[in-house]
Symmetry: C2
Subunit: 239 residues, 2 copies
C-alpha cells in the first residue's frame, strides 16, 4: 500500500515523496522524533520546500511514517486475541509491542504522544486499547493474570519501556526485553503481594497532558492545548 497521499502525483514527485518517507522512517528509527526537517530533506536529496509541500507539518510526516507500524500494533493485539491461550496471547502481545518500540526510537514516542490531527490513527490506537482490555479480561478469567492488574498498567509498561529505550542507546533491545520479562513475571496470578493502587491515567489521559515530557511531535512553542490546571496559579506568562 504505497500511501494514498501519492495519488495523481507526477512521476518524479512521487519518487521524491517515497524517498522522503523512507529516509524519515530510517532517521526517526535511529535518532528519535526530533531530527530536524532540514536533515530529512537533505538525506532525501530534496529541498525543505518539497518536503513541506508533501507534508504540511512535521506531525503529518510522522503520522504517515508510523501509520503502518500503528496498524501492525493493532494486528498484534488481534493475533493475541485469536490465541486460544489468553495468557500466552497477553505475553506475546506485550513482548511484540515493546519489541517494536525498542527497534524504533521514534515509534515509542509516537505511540505515547498525541496526534491531534491524525484522527485516523487515534481511532486505530483506541481500538487496540479496547482489544487489549478484552485480552486482559480473558487472561484474568483463565486465572493466569493477577486479578489486580489494571488495563491502565499497559500505559505504565509502555512509558517504562519508552524510558528504557530512550536511555539505553545501542542496548535498547536487550534492555527492553529484560524489563518486559521482569514485568510479565510480576503480572502472573501467582504473584500475590498486594499492589499500590493503579495510576488513574490510561493512555488516553497521558496523551493530552500539557507536560508530556516524552517529547511528542509538537515542540515547545506549539499551540495552547487546553490545560487541566494541575498546579498552582503560577501567573506569570512564563516559558
Amino acid at each position: 500500500m504505497p500511501a494514498e497521499g501519492a495519488v495523481g502525483l507526477r512521476a518524479d514527485a512521487r519518487q521524491n515523496r517515497d524517498r522522503i518517507v523512507e529516509v524519515a522512517r530510517r532517521l526517526f528509527a535511529d535518532r528519535g522524533l526530533d531530527v530536524p526537517m532540514a536533515a530529512i530533506a537533505r538525506h532525501a536529496g530534496v529541498g525543505v520546500a518539497t518536503l513541506y509541500r508533501r507534508f504540511p507539518t512535521k506531525e503529518a510526516l510522522v503520522t504517515e511514517v508510523f501509520a503502518d507500524q500503528f496498524e501492525a500494533c493493532v494486528s498484534v493485539v488481534d493475533d493475541a486475541l485469536a490465541d486460544p491461550d489468553p495468557w500466552r496471547g497477553f505475553c506475546t502481545a506485550i513482548e511484540k509491542i515493546c519489541g517494536m518500540q525498542a527497534a524504533d526510537r521514534g515509534f515509542g514516542t509516537a505511540f505515547v504522544a498525541a496526534f491531534p490531527e491524525a484522527v485516523e490513527i487515534e481511532r486505530e490506537r483506541d481500538r487496540a486499547i479496547q482489544a487489549f482490555a478484552e485480552l486482559t479480561r480473558r487472561a484474568k478469567a483463565a486465572g493466569r493474570l493477577r486479578a489486580d492488574f489494571s488495563p491502565d498498567d499497559l500505559a505504565l509498561l509502555l512509558m517504562a519501556n519508552c524510558g528504557v529505550v530512550a536511555g539505553s542507546a545501542g542496548e535498547a533491545g536487550v534492555a527492553s526485553r529484560r524489563l518486559v520479562a521482569y514485568l510479565l513475571g510480576s503480572f502472573r496470578a501467582e504473584q500475590a503481594d498486594p499492589l499500590p493502587p493503579p495510576a488513574r491515567l490510561s493512555l488516553h489521559d497521558v496523551l493530552d497532558s500539557p507536560t508530556s515530557a516524552t517529547r511528542p511531535v509538537r515542540r515547545a512553542g506549539a499551540g495552547p492545548t487546553a490545560h487541566q490546571g494541575t498546579t498552582a496559579p503560577q501567573g506569570t506568562g512564563d516559558r
Copy 2:
C-alpha cells in the same frame, strides 16, 4: 550548608544567589530540566546576567541545585546498608530513590544524565552505585533477592521509572509506586522464571551515550561549549 559558591559575596549578591537556587529548584521540580534560564531569572526577580554571573552555564546551575539531592541519594543507600535485613534495605532504598525521582521531575533526568563538569557529583553517584552493588550482594546472600539480578538492573529500573515519571504528569507518584511494586515483586528470589540476559550497560555507560535521549542539560541549540568528541565522524554535518 549554604553552598561554598557563595563565600565572599556581597550581602545582596548572596541573597540573590540563594533566591536563584531556590527558585530553580522549584521550577526544575515542577517542570523538568528544560525550563529556560530566562524564566528562572524572572521568577527570582533578577536579570539573566546576574544568573549567568553566578552560574556560568545552565549545567552549573543544575549541578548546584541537585547537589544535596544527590547526597540524599547516597545516604539512602548508606541507610539501606545499615539495615540488618538486606532485603528490606534493598527494597526501601529503591522505593525511596524512585520516590525522589517521582517527586521532582528534574531530579530523575539529572540523575540519569551526564554532568561532565560536575566531577564532585559523579564521584558521589559512583559511590552510591558501589554501595548499591554491595547491598545487592547481601540481599542475594540472604536468599531474598533472585540470583540472576544484575546490579545493572538498577539502571534499567531508574530509566523505566524516569519514563513513567516523565509521561504521567500529575500522577507521577502513584504511577511510580506501582511500577516499583511490580518490579520489586519480580526481583524476589521466589521468582524463578528465567530472564533474558541483562543489558550490558551500567549507569556509567548510559551517561556518556551520545544519544542520551533522556535530555540532559545541554540542549540542541546551545552555545559552542567545547564538545567532547564522543561520536564517530558522522559525515554529513547533520542535525
